[in-house]
Amino acid sequence: MRSPDIFTLIEISCFFLGCNIVLMILMVQYRKYRGKRLSNLEAVFADCVSSYLYPRPGEQITSAEVGEALSKAGVKKCFPGNIDYLIQLMIRTQRALGGINHHKIKKLYSEIPPYGVSIAKVRSKKWSVKARGIREIYEMDQPQYLKEIVPYYNHKNIYVRREAQIALVVFLGWESLSFLPMLTRRVGLWQQIKIVEKLHDVDKSYNIGYLRNCYKSSNPDVLQLVIRIIKKYQIMSETDFLEKMLCHDDYEVREAVIYCLLSLGVKNPEMRRLLYSLRTTIPSEIQQTQVLKYLYKNQDFILNHPEFVIGLNRSA
């Protein structure tokens, strides 16, 4: 390398180094400014919402007035970050509220500008924006957009399909499970957990017909999801299916069954006995040992099951 080349390299390095340092300082300053803006927005929102939900006599605030106040605080189309922040605040508030106030917030969301933000996001081509839009719609309980969400239940992007599936469950309850046998793509653990939770939030009683439709699915994730639903609703009648699943090829399916039987066994000790007697049929030594360890933690089971105590003494 010749000296002029090295000089150029030094100059370029110095330039980028300087840019980096200046940008860093600007960024720290901007973050402080942004923090102040957002806390101001939060204060205005809290003020408006409290007046809107709990008005003083003769001081009823309208949704138009709320919209105007928020607009003054920076909620405008040209500041999408502020809009997102406002939606987050609304979701958080709505989650904390119940009854009439829950519906009031839902109404406010659909009445204040910028209108239709979430459904516009659903139409976006970017997966992250699309999934966020779907999430906002079900979190803010806006079932009028369900038709636009349905086509995404088997979308290639995991986040889009996850949010779409959760939205279906939120809006349709047990009926939504009819999409499960058609699912060809993977259903992640978090997706399963959320579906089960939302389903339980929507309907505390179970509909076994929709569940049994899924038993023949070849997708192990769907089977896992079904087992989680059995566990959540404490359905004792499905032992045949659980027994069969205990020998399934997929490790995770078997894992889900073990946890399910243990959980069902809290109310019905017969389930734990079933698990103990079937443990040798599980095609994994690691899981067989695991079953013993789980059962060992349950003192009542040890006391009521002499064979287990003998096994315990032998190995210890």
Binding site: M1, R2, S3, I6, F7, L9, I10, S13, C14, F16, L17, N20, I21, L23, M24, I25, M27, V28, R31, S128, A131, R132, R135, I158, Y159, R162, E163, R185, R186, V187, G188, L189, W190, Q192, I193, K194, V196, E197, R228, K231, K232, Y251, E255, Y259, I286, T289, Q290, L292, K293, Y294, L295, Y296, K297, F308, G311, L312, S315, A316
Partner: protein
């Protein structure tokens, strides 16, 4: 003769230039990949927030294994902090690895421990003899188990914890680390989100808490260390974790999840036989072995790195301890590369065999050697009068500036994405340390690595060395 020297000199300098250019290019590709990875992680985080995980049911059960050896002064505070983590389903196993101090007695007294029954099943991994297992009589600590065993080293202690656990996931840490309250929630997310590829390990960032205010094992105020050596290591950790690991994670090329803070599925740990007790670089070795295992099973897998500082530890503040630590790391690297040498350049192991491991050999193992040879070459050239001082000086300035640029970019990303060091004063302190690093830190680092290689080459046994810590609670509480 002159022509030969000219030719030799030309070859050597071109060799150094190509090596340096490749390394610099890798680093800047790393910056791009790390930035992309952080942005992706932030986008994904919108859909899986910590609050949602904490309130969820049916989450995977986690066992936190913390080996402890002679940690009497801090053990109670540290166990308390590990019991305060926010996650609905976790157990804590503290493995007393034959401590010679009063660690065990302190635990028994404080947590009201009593001897419990042994496990009902055979232990899948062979370990040193377990003397007793303790559980607390106090129901507030029902998720705490203390295992007292004969001394067998850190890996053996973790393996004992693996044997006694029954959860799906295992988080390995050290009893002297401070873990963020929401660390488990964050660490479990890759497992919750996994679909096509199985997550076989997950690591998080490790930060240095020297100089911070710590009370009862919890960081109250994060400060930068006053000690220059520790301060430089803060920059080094930011660079290594945020840029290095994040970028490797982005291309699924992570070969190392830090032993101080790593989560693994128990099933896979048992399948590979747990940590290797015969090596000092056990965390690196385990990751390579896990990857090898998955390659041999022909299963899709990934190792995930989370761009968050979730665990805090203490950096050595004296050169003696620092050299001892880095010498050990260098030996660990040599041992693992040597153990798995058949995988290097072996297409049977895919990108790991053809790209990731060769990178480690050439640029991680090779860098200190190349630097040493470079230094010797400059000294010889200077003494023989072959050196063009002007070019050498400017080349040195250019290399220094590129190094500074890289460190500044790492600090920039850290400040931009995380809210931990966020004042102008702290930023300038970090930058100052980064610009001093090549003069006062790097030569020592190279020396320590060469020392480690030398010990390996001549089979000089020196074990783990003494990593004396000042102790968070005693030294830094305010």
């Amino acid at each position: 003769m002159h022509t030969f020297i000219d030719y030799f000199s030309w070859v050597i300098s071109k060799g150094f230039f190509i090596y340096g250019a490749c390394l610099t290019s890798f680093y800047f590709i790393g910056v791009y990949l790390a930035n992309r990875g952080i942005l992706k992680a932030r986008r994904r985080n919108v859909f899986l927030r910590s609050q949602d995980v904490i309130s969820a049911s049916d989450l995977p059960h986690i066992t936190l294994i913390a080996p402890a050896y002679n940690e009497g002064p801090t053990i109670i505070d540290n166990v308390f902090s590990l019991l305060l983590l926010k996650y609905p389903y976790y157990d804590l196993i503290v493995v007393n690895d034959g401590s010679k101090d009063d660690s065990l007695q302190k635990l028994i007294d404080k947590f009201n421990l009593e001897v419990s029954l042994q496990n009902p099943s055979e232990n899948p991994i062979e370990t040193a003899h377990v003397r007793n297992i303790y559980k607390s009589k106090n129901t507030s600590y029902k998720n705490l188990t203390v295992i007292d065993k004969e001394n067998g080293g850190r890996s053996d202690a973790i393996n004992t914890g693996i044997n006694f656990s029954s959860s799906e996931l295992i988080l390995c840490t050290d009893a002297d680390c401070i873990i963020e309250e929401t660390a488990l929630v964050k660490m479990v997310t890759p497992y919750l989100e996994a679909t096509d590829k199985e997550v076989i390990a997950c690591g998080g960032g490790i930060g240095l808490a020297n100089g911070s205010s710590i009370e009862k094992g919890v960081i109250k105020k994060l400060r930068l260390p006053q000690n220059l050596l520790a301060l430089i290591q803060v920059v080094e950790y930011i660079r290594a974790f945020l840029l290095g690991r994040m970028s490797w994670g982005e291309v699924n090329g992570l070969l190392l999840v830090s032993g101080a803070f790593g989560m693994f599925p128990r099933r896979r740990l048992v399948e590979v036989g747990g940590f290797d007790t015969s090596t000092i670089g056990e965390d690196f070795e385990l990751c390579v072995r896990l990857r090898k295992h998955m390659e041999e099973l022909n299963l899709s897998y990934k190792i995930v790195y989370l761009p968050l500082t979730l665990c805090w530890t203490e950096a050595p503040e004296t050169y003696k301890i620092f050299i001892s630590q880095r010498d050990r790391w260098a030996r660990g690297l040599c041992e693992t590369l040597s153990t798995h040498k058949k995988m290097i350049g072996n297409s049977k192991y895919g990108t790991m065999g053809m790209i990731f491991l060769p990178y480690w050999v050439i640029f991680e193992f090779g860098a200190p050697l190349v630097e040493l040879i470079g230094l010797l070459y400059i000294i010889i050239s200077a003494s023989m009068g072959w050196l063009n001082w002007e070019v050498t000086f400017y080349a040195f300035v250019a290399i220094y500036l590129i190094g500074c640029l890289f460190s500044t970019t790492a600090v920039f990303l850290y400040v931009n994405y995380f809210n931990q060091y966020n004042t102008i004063g702290q930023i300038f302190k970090l930058l100052g340390a980064a610009y001093l690093e090549p003069f006062i830190f790097h030569p020592i680092l190279v020396y320590a690595s060469i020392k480690g290689y030398y010990k390996m080459l001549f089979n000089i046994k020196s074990g783990w060395g003494t990593m004396t810590r000042k102790g968070f609670s005693s030294a830094n509480s305010s």
